[in-house]
Amino acid sequence: MKFTLSPLGDQAIVIEVGKKIDISSERKVKAIVSRLEAGSPSWMIEYIPAYTTVTLIYALQEFSKEDSPYGAVCERIRELLKDVKEAKAVQQKIVNIPVVYGGEYGPDLDFVAQQNGLTVDEVIEIHTSGDYTVYMIGFAPGFPFIGGMSERIAAPRRKTPRLKIPARSVGIAGMQTGVYPIETPGGWQLIGRTPLELFLPTEDPPSLLAAGNKIKFYKITSEEYEGLRGGAD
């Protein structure tokens, strides 16, 4: 597999496998992550996978005796990733995410419908029938970057971001859909909310979702939502 290496500051290195978000980059990233997990070298502190890159954070102290620590890091990575092959298509875990759409849970659902000349029910129908993939977790704890949303329900970000978006809100921004795990400011159009916690600070791993997971959204009522929350709110 071909990749390039370049520094991200003096304690991290970016392994780049392509310049485009596509299935090949996704499989290469996956293969590299599996190899890093399996090798788990002592000089690796952690890694951050993204669409076309895996960034590895290294313990610089371990290279202090080298004439060129950066050169040594590159060498070790090339050695570690020797003959790594693009991952084959594998059956991915499917995570079902219940969503109560509209109303106080999704105040921008009407806007998304109007924007696309659809009824609210059509927006829900399209959103729940999508075939979604989690490309990466980033930005905030447990926050999934999800690909695969239909262009028919795309909507621009809000001109003025909200200062507070309730935790577990489901939103749309351009061609993307996603779920805010924790309360944050944000500019996405909010179409609903899930009772599921995406960020699980007391569990290991602390995230419901992982890169590569498939997602299915399904519609629930506000009564079902409250039931699933079990008075947690």
């Binding site: 520094p7 991200l8 500051g9 991290a12 502190i45 890159t53 960020f199 791993p205 602390p206």
Partner: protein, 330 residues
């Protein structure tokens, strides 16, 4: 045991960060000024990874419920006890029932208080660091408030020796030495910061690249543990380009479309989609952490090789320092 009798502007428990969970979007966090944090720990006989109290611009008042051995490093937030200044960068014995008062900053931005034994808050995902936005770590995942009580773990044998030697009937007694001048940071209102070229450096137009290295930037008031917004010449790409999000780290200098750079800091998000013109040399995180709104930053280009040399030299200095401290007390 320490009680917060009056909180400062933003007091949080921090250690050297939460590692291994960035793949799940959990930020690394940790002390903004890891250098000051580490030295404070060394001075009270702690491992450098123990949790300290990070204080910002205006510090708190702290009531010590038992005898303690402390060290204060970093920015000068004018610590006093009973009206007398408490010296920094050295071990200080504090008698039970005394109140340590910090005021507004005289120099720098952040001070670190280490207590022999280390601050005892639960370890969450491998770290005691407070990440306020996710309510994680520290004391209930938030900045300290009036009436909070922070527990302290048992001091090391080395610390017990120090404590005994400095023990006094007065409310506090500082060691009559401090760490050598060459280990102290130079605090001022302008900092020269060493920076490597960022991953997208070449995409910026020539004028922007030239101005980046030659004109000063001013730290804006919109700066916190997550990142510093800085004002100066606007920086632009040769051609507008939509970037694919990728990892960012402490010291990544991102430039959004408006042209005003943001230097990401300890509580940065794990990934970002803006082009990065530069990357701070990690040896200068301490300068960034001590820069406050209105201070000027001038970027000086270094290669990654130079940056690694500086880092290795600093690690060697810290080893020498640790040996010197041990010598004082054994």
């Amino acid at each position: 045991m320490i009680e917060i009798s009056k909180p400062g502007l933003h007091d949080t428990v921090q250690d050297l960060g939460r590692h291994g969970y960035q793949t799940f979007g959990v930020i690394a966090g940790g002390a903004m000024d890891p250098y000051a944090h580490r030295i404070a720990n060394l001075l009270v006989g702690n491992e450098e990874t123990e949790a300290t109290l990070e204080m910002t611009l205006v510090g708190p008042r702290l009531l010590f419920k038992e005898d303690g051995l402390i060290a204060i490093c970093g920015g000068d937030l004018t610590p006093t006890m009973e009206g007398l200044p408490v010296p920094m960068w050295r071990p200080v014995f504090i008698r039970k029932g005394s109140e340590l008062r910090f005021g507004a900053t005289k120099e720098g931005c952040r001070a670190y208080l280490a207590v022999a034994g280390g601050l005892d808050v639960p370890i969450v995902l491998g770290s005691r660091s407070t990440y306020v936005k996710a309510g994680l770590g520290g004391l209930d995942g938030r900045a300290l408030i009036k009436g909070d009580v922070v527990q302290v773990m048992s001091a090391s044998g080395l610390a017990e020796v120090m404590k005994k030697r400095l023990s006094s009937d007065a409310s506090f007694r500082a060691a009559d030495w401090q760490i050598a001048q060459k280990f102290l940071p130079t605090l001022s209102n302008h900092y020269e910061i060493r920076v490597m070229r960022g991953r997208q450096y070449a995409l910026f137009d020539e004028a922007s690249r030239h101005r980046f290295w030659n004109e000063p930037f001013t730290v804006s008031s919109q700066s916190d543990r997550m990142g510093y917004r800085i004002n100066g010449p606007a920086l632009h790409l040769e051609e507008a380009e939509e970037m694919i999000s990728e990892a960012v780290t402490y010291g990544s200098i991102q430039v959004p479309a408006d042209g005003n750079p943001i230097i990401l800091a300890a509580d940065r998000q794990t990934t970002g989609g803006y082009p990065k013109i530069g990357q701070l040399s990690s040896i200068d995180f301490t300068k960034l952490a001590q820069a406050k709104a209105g201070d000027q930053l001038l970027f000086k280009e270094v290669t990654i090789e130079e940056s690694h040399r500086l880092f290795t030299k600093q690690e060697m200095n810290l080893k020498v320092l640790l040996a010197a401290i041990r010598n004082r007390f054994s």
